[in-house]
Structure formats: C-alpha cells, structure tokens
Symmetry: D2
Subunit: 376 residues, 4 copies
C-alpha cells in the first residue's frame, strides 16, 4: 500500500446515510490499523441549515450548499454521495472528472444504462469506487461466502433470499422520491438491490430472472397528511425466480410493505454438503448444517460472531459482544480506504453495482412481459 497518511472526505447529503458515512469515516482509524486517516473536510446539502448543523455535529471542517464546489475541492480525495438515487449519476461523473475516489450509496443509478456510464467513467479514470452495500460487510456474510467458495457446502442446489421491511406499508406514508418510477423502481430498487447484491456476493452472477412485481398501495398523499393523493406506479413487492450462472436456481423477494418486519434481510442456501441460514434480524449469527455427520447429535449450529471472523476482532477482542449496523458501514469504509491505498479492491464497486442494476432492470422488464429474461 502507498504511504498516504491522510485523505480528505467530502460527503454530499446529510440524511440517514450521510450521517452513517460520517460516523464510519470518523470511527475507522480507531478500529483498523494502517489505513490512510480520513479527514472530514466538507459536507454539502442543498439545505444550508442542515449542512451547517451536520458540519457542527459531525465535525466537518466546512459545509456548502453547492455540491459542485465540494467535488472540486482540492482538499478532498473521497467524495461520498448519499443523495436520492436519481442524483447519483451527475454527482459521480463530476467527482470522477475531478479525479476523486467515489463512495456512492445504493442503488447507484435508476437503471443499468446510467450505472454503466458511471462504471465506464470510473474505470477510465482509474479511481476507486465503493457502493454502500454494507450488509455484505458483516463478518458472518464473509464467512458464508468463504464457505461457499471453499466448497464446504458442496454444490449449491438452491438459494432463497428475502429483504422485507415495512417502512412503506402504511398507505398514509406520503409519496416520495422512492415512489418515483424515474428513480428506477420501488422495493426492487431500494431494498431488492441489497438482496440481489447479497445473492451475487454469495453465489456469483445471475443468468436469468423471472419476476412478478406488485403495487399494494395504489396511491399516497402528496405530502404528510395531505388530502391530495398521487398514484403510485412502482412496486411494493417484487417476487423473483432466478437461475444463477453456476447452475442452481433460487428465489428472491423484495418487500417494503411487510407489516412488522423491520430488517428481514436474509437467506437460506443449501448445497450437497451443507446448508446456511441467515437473517439480518440477528446479524451476529449464522446457522450452519453440515451433512453426513452424526445424526444423533446433529443439527443446525448457531455460529456467533467473534474474533475468529475477521474483522470482528478489530472491534472487540471477545466473542459474543456483537457488532451493530454502524460497524458494518465502518468495515465498508475500511475496505474502501485499503483499496485507495493500493490494497485489495473488494468492492462492491461501480461495476458490481452495474451488474446488480442489470438484474433489477431485468426483473422490472420480466414483470411487464411476464416472461423469463436472460441477463447478458
């Protein structure tokens, strides 16, 4: 790795993810040794008051309302984009043009075409990109992926993935950018991208998809409490049947109207030698069944996260103490910094985000044509 010691970070957006990024950039050097130290240089928000407040609280050196000035600031080496999806492309292309490394929230674009533009620009510029699929940064997910890759589960025979929450279940939750079809879909884009990404992380490319998308809440108030309502065109629930390039099949569901579910992101996968089951509702656990053992004592093992599962041990030297959501974001940032410093590029980068977007686009198209679609 290079001997870079510090790197300036500029974050665009001060919402849920803006704060999560700031937390992670602030925390990372106390946890991961040997990385460039991020300096919280600037934060941008079109709402100046929000930008100023965020700068004060999160500890940025300065703030602006103009994201372009942030992107071009020579003190900044990393641009972090946490705005709504439709704005990612323009911001990322500007940041890439300015030679910055880009950290972008997911999904990176409303469609695969835009994602491809971003990927092409990034690769041409040679900068490092990182996309916020933080759930796969969980050491338990790395363990799962490593077990699949090492053949510990044999030939994989099936995958069942789900990402269900209920944040859009209430018909009185107002229309927002998440409901705008120009943003590239509803649940399938917003959280489907997570579970599609997780499926790819574990099992590799998806070759073919069949989907059924459904809008449960047909209209929403134009604003909180408004009498006027606007028709919703994007999906609340997406049900995918998939074929992975490696040969096995699976199903994937994305659902933001699943009453009662706050973070049901998980999967069950089986192979000829074993099975895994995971849910983000208990993110420090992974259930593992090994075939062929002593059936009298056999069953699913509840593996608890601990120092045996890197990089858990950097957060805590004792097992069972548990990581939280913000810690996963910190791992994402650490891996991004490692790549920037010349180390391994673990992604997911813009290319991977483009691949995920192709699956989402194919799912939307499949649901319209009611037929299987190949993903090139």
């Amino acid at each position: 790795m290079s001997d870079m010691r510090e790197i300036g970070v500029g974050i665009i957006g001060t919402g849920f993810m803006g704060k999560a990024h700031a937390f992670a950039y602030r925390a990372v050097s106390g946890i991961f040794p040997g990385l460039p130290r991020p300096v919280l240089q600037a934060v941008a928000d079109i709402d100046g008051a929000a930008a100023e407040r965020a700068a004060g609280q999160l500890g940025f050196r300065n703030w602006r309302t103009d994201w372009r000035s942030l992107v071009e600031d020579p003190a900044i080496g990393i641009v972090s984009i946490t705005t709504p999806n439709v704005m990612h492309r323009e911001m990322a292309l500007a940041a890439i043009a300015a030679g910055k490394h880009v950290h972008c929230e997911k999904p990176i674009a409303p469609d695969a075409g835009a994602a491809r533009d971003m990927m092409m620009a990034a690769e041409a510029a040679g900068i490092v990109t990182q996309v916020g699929y933080n759930y796969i940064k969980n050491p338990m997910l790395k363990l799962a992926r490593d077990m699949v890759a090492a053949g510990e589960l044999g030939d994989i025979t099936g995958f069942r993935g789900i990402h269900a929450e209920d944040y859009m279940a209430d018909p009185e939750t107002p229309y927002s950018w998440r409901c705008d079809p120009s943003g590239g879909g509803g649940a399938i884009a917003d959280i489907g991208s997570h579970i599609v990404g997780m499926a790819r992380f574990l099992l590799g490319p998806i070759a073919e998809v069949h989907a059924d998308l459904e809008t449960v809440v047909k209209s929403r108030p134009v604003a909180p409490g408004a009498a006027e309502r606007r028709a919703v065109e994007v999906d609340d629930i997406a049900r995918l049947t998939v074929r992975f390039a490696r040969g096995c099949g699976g199903t994937i569901e994305a659902n933001w109207a699943a009453i009662g579910r706050k973070m049901q992101l998980g999967f069950e996968l089986a192979g000829t030698k074993g099975s895994l089951a995971y849910t983000q509702e208990r993110l420090n656990e992974l259930a593992f069944y090994r075939a062929g053992g002593d059936i009298r004592h056999g069953g699913f093992v509840r593996i608890e996260s601990g120092p045996a599962h890197h990089p858990y041990g950097l957060f805590c030297v004792a097992p069972g103490h548990q990581l939280g959501f913000n810690d996963l974001k910190t791992i994402e940032v650490a891996e991004f910094l490692e790549a920037i410093a010349g180390g391994e590029r673990r992604g997911p980068d813009f290319r991977e985000a483009w691949e995920i977007q192709k699956v989402i686009d194919a799912a939307i198209a499949s649901s319209r044509t009611r037929s299987w679609l190949r993903i090139d």
Copy 2:
C-alpha cells in the same frame, strides 16, 4: 349428528401412514367426545407378513393381502388408503362403489384428471371423503385461517410458503415410486401438495401460477447400494410464483433436497393490519404482529398453543404442553368422523384435493413452457 355408535375401519397399507392412521383411529374416541367409535376391523398389505404383524400390533380384528376384499367387507364403513399415490384412484373408486367413506393419503392422484374422477365418483355416491393434509389440522393453523377470514390482518398483501425437507437430498437414496413421473411429480407432488394446500386453506384459490422445477439429483441407484443407477425425471425443487384469486400474490417452494431441514413447512403472510409467521419446526407456536399499536412495546407475539385454540383443550387442559404429529392426525380423523356422523364437512375432501392437484399440474406444465398458467 346421527346416533351412529361404532364404525368399522379398514386400512390399506402398513407403512408410515398406515401406522399413523391406525394410531389416530385408536386414539380419537378418548379425546373427542360424542363421535362414532372407530373399530379397527381390518388391515391389508400385499406383503402378508407385514399385514399380520400390523394387525397384531395395531389391534386390527383381521388382516388380508387382498385390498379388494377389505373394501367390500360389510363390517367396514371407512376405507383408509395409505398406499403409494399411483394406487389411490383404483382403490378409492372401488371403495366408493362399495359405499364406503374414504380416507385417502395425499396427493390423492398422479394428476388432476384422476383426482377429478375420484371427486366425481365420491360426490355422486354421496359418501364422505377425507384427505390426509394433516398439518392444517393444527390448532395454530386454524387460528391463522380464522384470523385471515375475520379480517384481523386486513387485506392480505403477500404470502411466502415453503415446505423443505432433506429426505431425498442424498444422491445414494435409491430410486423409488416417489421418483416415478407417472406418480405425478417429485417434491412438488409429495410435499408441495402440503404447502399448496396450506396456502389454499389460509387464502383460498390460486388463480395463476409460474413455476421453475429442477432436478438436483440426476440419477439414483435402482436399489439400496446398487451400482446400477436410473435417471430421475421428477423435480427435487419447485419454485412457484402464484396469484391468488383474492388478488394478492405469493411464492411457494417445495424442496426435498434441503440439507438439514427435517420439517420446514411454514409460511409468512402479511396484510394491511398485521402479519403471521409459522413453521412446522415449532408447530405449537404462531407469530403474530398487529399493525398500528404502540411501537415502543410492539413486535411479533409468540402465541403458544393452549386450550384457547380448539381442539387443543381436548388433548390437554393446560397451555404449553404441546401437541405432536400424531395428534394432528387424530384431529383429522375426528373431523372426518364428525362429517360422517352428519356434522360439518371441513375437509379437505376429494374436491379440495382435486383443486390442489390442479395447481400441481399447472406448476409442472408452467415449468415446461416457462410461462404463467391460469388455473381454471
């Protein structure tokens, strides 16, 4: 109800299900008051030694190798069919012709055409039929169904059903009648029929289906330990996307190659007012989330079975003591006897079994054509 006091029972088959039926017919009158008392009259098996052994142990008055003589025995009022699927039709038609009430294991036939023949004959004869979809006899399932029917969950927005076990996961498990395509399918028929039936029990008719069936184990030994192998044509895994007639969608998976899963029969369903989650792995529990409550104290409630959930209280006056598999079979028998005595016909009867079979047939056809199919 009629004042019938006793009814002779003849069981064909002495395997897993033959024994389960005998257990249930023996147990039922000690548990359920006021029903005709079953008399274990005769048992038939082509293997005479098995028949004799079963008669002795299970307490039948006599045994035979010829099932036809059992069907025609005037001392017998109920014929219970527990043989492989392909034999059901002939046996059931003979029993119906002899005026017997018929209790048949599931699926009742290899295809919807045969199931329809059986249903038509039964309805013409006016006899009572019962099909062995015992899992829906669980008081927790009745609770779930009643909650849906009473609107306690609002409008249902989605269903996710699964029946996964691993009894055919091992490639060395030999070829059997379960692998024979003339029997009407593999996992989709053998256990898929359970979860399809459960979906219908909870939410009513399925209007449309899309399926992807997959054979994981391509060949099996012709006999235990044999070197010679036979190609397998039926599915090990079936992945269905469905549309219910009531308007909502869902997914259903049947999988008999799911390493580690012994009885993962369950579902999650959500409505606009609440959600339910169930797995047969913990058959005395039902998880319920009620929307709109106090979020500080809210969450999924783990309902434990008890006397509040009829007919649990007939088995045990105290909650939490738990029912087992054989108890579910006993409830099935009790409801059959109640219908025979002139009470409510709760089924599932041959008509319902025919409806289930149509979904299975459509799933198989859908997978071949790779397209959605309507179920008439």
Copy 3:
C-alpha cells in the same frame, strides 16, 4: 419378558391426569410392539357422573365411585392413581396390599415419611411402581442423560434448572388442594418435584440444599368469585441452591406465579467438554455445545428429535415431525408395562419419588431455618 398378553387397568380420578393416563394406556400398544396389552377395565371417581362420562368416552368397561372396589377388582392388574396428592398414600397402600402394580401421579405424597411408607410397602410386595414424571421420558432428555453418563460433556461443573408456569399467578385463582400445606408445599411440590426429578435424572443425587421459599399471593378466594378469602401458606416461588453428590453445584427454581410462562421447564448444564440447554417450551429440541472444536464454525447445535432418539421412531419414522405431551405419557406407560413384563425397571419408581420428596422436604425446612441442609 413374561408372555403376559393383556393386563387390566383401573384408573382412579378423571381429571387432567386421569384422561392423560387413559389416552396413554389406549395408545401404547399401537406404538410399542411386544408389550402386554392394557385393557381399560375400570375408572373410579367420587363424582359418579364424572366417572360414568369418563367411562363412556375413554372406553372403560365399567366405572365406580368407590376406589376401593376398583383396587380389589381381580380383573385389574394395574392401579393408576391420579387424585390429589394427599390421597395417594392410602390408595397406593391398598393397591399394593391387593397385589397390584401401581402407577401414581407426582408427587406421590405430602412428605418424605409418607413416600417412604409407600416405597417400603411396594418393595416388600415386589410389585412394580411407576411415578408420573413424564417429562423425563422425552427422547431429548434421554439423550441428555446418556450424554452426561457417557462423559461426552466431561466433568459437570454446574446445573441451572427452572420450572416456571403461571397457573397460580392470578390472585383471584381460588384456594385449592394445591394451596393446602398438608399437601406438602406449593410450587416446590407441584412443579418443583418435576425439575428436582429432572436434575436427579441427569446428574444423580442431590446432597445438600439451601432454599428460599416465598408466598407471593398472600390470600385467595375460598371459591371461584367468592368474596371470602383464605390465607395462603404454601410457596409460590422456591429458589434452591444445591450441591450434587457428584460434586458440582447448581440452582433450581420452581415458580407457579411466573406471568406468561406456560411450560418453562428446562435446564442448562455445563461440563468441562460441553454444554446442554433445554426447555420444555420446545420439547423436540436440545441445544448442545461441544468444547474444543473449530471456533470459526462452532456454536450450539440445535438437535431436533428424530428416529435416532429412541423411542421417537416408534411414533414416527421421519425426523422433525415432533412428539407432544401425550406421547411422553405413552412412553411412561410403555416403560411401566415393560417392567411389569419382566423387562428393565427404568422408573421413576416409588424409591425415586421418595428421594425427590426428601429434597422437597429439605427445601421447605431450609427455607424455614434459612440454612443449608444435608439430604441423607
């Protein structure tokens, strides 16, 4: 074993346990091969209407209000006592005097002195006794006991046992024989005897006990809805610290005022080579941790009951289908019949019940003196 083919059974009492016994005696020969076949000969209850109703429904050949005539009936070989605790002694001694084998519900007596009388009489007469500690008949409990005995857990270092329910939590639940101090205690006797028995089953004799007994509900209505209340002297909660003869320590809690708990009967035990955790709330599961394994994949294994855990396979040939409460009672009866036929005497017999009673008596005395007590 002897070639006894049938044996007459007389049951005294028609409540919860009377019915459970009848169910088990009826079911047992369909499940367990080669045992004497129980014939439900007679049922007795001081309430003649209850006796007649039970006889009709449960299938007894006759009924009486006079338990003595039942005990002396030459057609009866087994007397089953399911009445309140204070009546057990007289009935059991009469049955023993009449040469009957005796099946008695727990606890067998209000104190160790009475239990000793019963044990002495039974041993002198040479008849077989069985006490209704049915929970330890669970195949998962046998597995646990066998693992301890085989040293699979190493030297046991600690035990934590609990039996908590809430059937007496409501202060409006009326005073009953369970509250009567002449019956030998409250929760410690009624359910404490189960967890004390389970502790002994797993780990052997308890050498020393320290207890703190507490009455939470100080008075109860003399009858349902009555304004008049009666002071309660027995314990609602008993907290024991114990020392086992094998050297390790432990704690045991009995609690019938544990709001929300329906059947929290369970334990956690650890040894130098492994640990077990169990709760009756999920009676078909046992959690097992094996020390010294691969920590990356290690953790507690959720063992599910199946044919590998005898006698599960007699109930069902497939794993995961689950036993229920009544099945445990059936296993108890099967083992009793096996002992009567000359096979192994697995108990718990009156001697074991006396040993359990000594622990209960010592706990009560310890709480009064607030000191450790040795159990001789």
Copy 4:
C-alpha cells in the same frame, strides 16, 4: 448545561477496554448533539511501545508510560481508567485530587472499602464519575427499567439473572490478575458485578444475599504453556439468592466457566401485570408479556430496538438495524459528558459502584459462612 465546547480525555490502559473507551470518545460527538466534544489528548501504558502504537492508531495527541503525568496534565479534563482492578483506587484518587472527572472500568475496586474511599473522595471533590457498566446503557435495558418504574409490570415478584461466559473455562488458560484474590474475587467480581449492577438498575437495592461460590479449575499454568501451575482461590461460579429491598426475591449467577456461552448476560423478571426476558446474546431484543390480555392471541412480544427506544434513533433512524457493543460504550460516554456539562447524572457513578461492591463482598462472605448476610 454549561457552554463547555471541548474537553481533553486521557486514557490509562490500552487493552480491550482502553480501545473501547477511545472508540466511544471518538464516536460520541457524531452521534449525540450538543455535548462537549472530547479531544483524545493522551494515552498512558507502562508498556511504552503499546502506548505509542495506541496513540498512533487511536489518534491521541500524545502518549506516556507514567500515568501520573497524564492525571496531572492540565489539558485533560477526563481521566479514563481501564487498567486491572487493583490499580483503580490509586489512579482514581490521584485523578480526583487533580480535579479531573473520572471514568473507571468495573469493578472499581477489589472491595467495598476501597470503593468507598473512591466514592468519598469523588463526592468531596464534586467531580463527576462514571463506571463502565455499559450493558445497562442499552436502550432495551432502559425500556425494561422504565417499564418496571412505571408499574407496567405490576408488583415485581421475582428476578432471575445470569452472566455466563466461557473465557476462563479452559484449565490451560493461565493464571492472571483475574485469578488473584487480592483483586476481589473471580467470576463474581469480573462479571458478577455486571449482573448485580443490572439487577439494581432494574429493581433497586439488594437487602440480603446468600451465595455459594465454587472454584471449578483448581489450578492454572503460571504462564501460557507453562508446566508450573498455581492454585486458584477465586470463584469460577457464584450462585446467589437475593432479597431486594422492595420485597421480592431472586437469583443471580456469575459463571466464567460456562462452556459455549460467549455473552449470556440476561434476566427474566416477572410482576403481577407482566414479565420481561432479556439476553445480551440478542441485545437488540426484549421479550415482554402483558398479563390479562386476550389469551387467544397473547404471548411474549419480541420487541426489536428502534428509534422509539432513545437514544437508538441517534445511531440510526430506522428500526431493526441494531446497535453493537461499541455503541453501548458510546452511550455511556455520552451520558458522562452530559453530566459533566451540568445535565442529569445518570451514573452508574462511584456511589453506585460501591453499592454493587457491597453485594459482591457480601456474596463472598456469605459463601464462606454459608449463611444469609444483610447488606447495610
């Protein structure tokens, strides 16, 4: 609150807890608005290389090997003590004498006498103290405490607390300061203090204690892999029966030899109106049973942490995303800073730590005398 803007922090010790403190002081201002901003001023360790490495990685302005110079540094307003227990008293007294606010790891002293000295000095000096009982900073624990305090559970009838881990289970784990009786006990001090503190946090003072302490591993190697062994005198397992001043009873177990348990810190408590169950193994969940509801739909509710449970929402605006161990430490630091700035003093402070220590001392004494002991 005062308008203090920044405060210098000096941490003594660079082990597990030193790092956790640094993480929390670094993270806190990005999460909690309006608090004085901690500046990581200095770190001290007798091992200079460790101190230098920690300073570099954790971002301290300077480092030393002499803790006294840190304590006296005028740039430092907070002294954080994360060294072995026996060193706390001297360091804390020096820091107090220098007018610093003191953050000290638990237990603060080897015995109640030393803890009392520290408490007296702190109160005389008027500085703010904070002790590292971080687990009670969990929003789920605050919820539990608030529910108890608000009477939502009625009169509390019993408490069952446990803190079990297995970090000292292996007999080859070497002798360390944790085994030194001058440090004030083994498991009862090291982790028993957590569960005693949690019991007090929830239910208030413990008036009386009976304990049985046991040493399972009788000797340990003097160093890793050493042949020479040293006798162990402190407890591996402590079993307490307690009486709370509020009137109810309970049990508490501390166990560092519980094979397989990594963080089994939890409790079950019942009142006349409801029950709670918690385990740190799933720290984002709390189970709640409300008495008197509809038994058909009733049961334990699994509450998941979310913004309804302050201060979760400062970490993440969406429920279900989960906090981790380091986040709990951050909340502890936030509350300490709030108190320093003149806000509410929520503790646990040195006085509370002294109260906890009195229970521990009483438990040790009770085990020696084998009798109940009152805590004044």
